[in-house]
Subunit: 338 residues, 2 copies
Amino acid sequence: MAVTIKDVALKAKVSTATVSLVINGNNRISPETKRKVLKVIKELDYHPSKSARDLVSQKTGNIGFLLTDDHFLRTEPFYTRIFLGSEFEAGNTNYYILLATVPSTYNNNNSLPRFILERSIDGLIVAGKVPEELLSKLSEYKLPLTFVDYKPERQKYPVVLIDNIHGGLLATNHLIEYGHKKIAFIGGDISHPSIRDRLTGYTRALDNAGINFNKNIIHTISPYPDRQNGYDAAKSIFTKNKNITAVFACNDAMAIGVMHYLKDNGYSIPDDVSIIGFDDVEADLLLDPPLSTIRVPKFDLGAEAFKIMKESIQNKETKSKIVLVPVELIIRKSTRKI
Amino acid sequence: MAVTIKDVALKAKVSTATVSLVINGNNRISPETKRKVLKVIKELDYHPSKSARDLVSQKTGNIGFLLTDDHFLRTEPFYTRIFLGSEFEAGNTNYYILLATVPSTYNNNNSLPRFILERSIDGLIVAGKVPEELLSKLSEYKLPLTFVDYKPERQKYPVVLIDNIHGGLLATNHLIEYGHKKIAFIGGDISHPSIRDRLTGYTRALDNAGINFNKNIIHTISPYPDRQNGYDAAKSIFTKNKNITAVFACNDAMAIGVMHYLKDNGYSIPDDVSIIGFDDVEADLLLDPPLSTIRVPKFDLGAEAFKIMKESIQNKETKSKIVLVPVELIIRKSTRKI
DNA sequence: TTTACCCGTTTAATCGTTTAACTAATTATC
DNA sequence: GATAATTAGTTAAACGATTAAACGGGTAAA
């Protein structure tokens, strides 16, 4: 059996209360007693039991991390990186992260994750979009929440988001600085907030540079921003417009599709067309040429969400602030000056 | 304040013991009382507190996952995938995974992870190589251990490993079946068990096919199996041997280096040289040509380790069995028949 | 000298469960 | 019909900490 506070108290000839007070740095204890107790603690290699502490303090030292199963399992490790960022940040603290997934089809018949029902978390990080039903059930608990990469409708909690507008601005500015004027935008579903924001950055950059906005070279009707849709979008844009010199794709997957289309049709990258993506997925470096892009620090998103969660637990306040995590322009070989 | 067992007992007009017995499926309780209690539980939406249960049962329902900090943070997400595999498998059970990293320079002055000292795990999964000092400190606790992708010296615990020998066999057989006889092996430090095993698979396959083992086309002196070393190894082998038709690289990183060397020197892949790697990293698909390889199911490694951990907690036995997780041959475009 | 206060420590309740030991009522056994 | 065995439930201790309240001795103020 492990060493308990009683063993320490006995050996130090004090009460368990005294030991507890020493451990918790209470200054009511005389230096002498404190020294004596600490000595015994060291001798016995005593460490307080977390279970016992949890019960009496009505805290758990755990923070939940919630996402939908499809986000957890999808091939491109976006949300799992965020999760690892939270894990990393938690490693520097006294908290542990507990992970749970909910079905993306979550409805009122589904039950909440076990860690909520059993009260084994002090706060919850929600990553990515989750069903509305889940949110309303969640709000019945007085649990501190923090959202990351998703801003719920009626937002009353802290939210950590990618600075998509700035990213769109950076990418487009980069192309403009390289002398490009005919810059196509290739995006997915425009109703998705992050894609909308990236487009906003794009138009803002054009505006700032006094370049005319040409809606013929803007593609925002793909249902999902994947490689195939990037390929198709490039086809539809490039067959109708002959003098495009640069493309800003709303993410790397689409950018890769665009690259494939261009290669298949005799364009050379970046000699004929410059191209920049968004995300900075691992594969970018292996492409030919390596893809310039906007780096999204997924790890940082998770770390930031954790920090905010920790704060809002400790401050007992639920401010609804929005934190934008900065992105970074990564220049590789797929863009060139003209 | 949350609903407790007392609230249920009060409302159901029974003792808390009865409620507890009902929850835990004890058959001493009459169907009638059971129904009554369950009804109240549902009405009050009662869920037992994990903290309280943990304390009294002297279990925690948590399993620790331990690895060194450099393994956690390294770019190629090998161990984090294993971790996610364990997380995934845990999601199907009543366990949570707690993550902790230790410095790769761990020595006796470092303390053990908090979750061990505070007794907040029921078992520990150790992923990858960890310092010997850590292991000996660990063994002072009566904690069930399971190792994954690492077999400690004096192994007394279950170990989950990649079936490297079979992988080497599969890769080499594939090349042999495609008609190759002059097959180079490009590996890193041979003292590393997994590289040694892959080489063993290679030699065994040659043996089975009655092909002579030619040590001039075997490269096992690179300190670390990365891309640059792959490039250099290819240079050293190909400048001295002219009639190599295929390469088995001990991992994909080296294989990519080999591909670069071959391209830089006018070889065409797979027309002049077939090449196969090992690991199946995401980038393989984006290479030109896409790389044939041996798929290592990292996720499965973690899941398997978790399953074994769970079993050995429940069976209270510490068998020292070795589980080999099967690998899979993935044929893409970098290998061809001659 | 009495009263009040401070200081350092202890006492004892508490957190929310589980479970061994007990009890009372019913049923079975001889 | 007396006793034993079974059944269904309760009582109370325990898990290992924290912490409000109580305590007693010493000192300072009245």
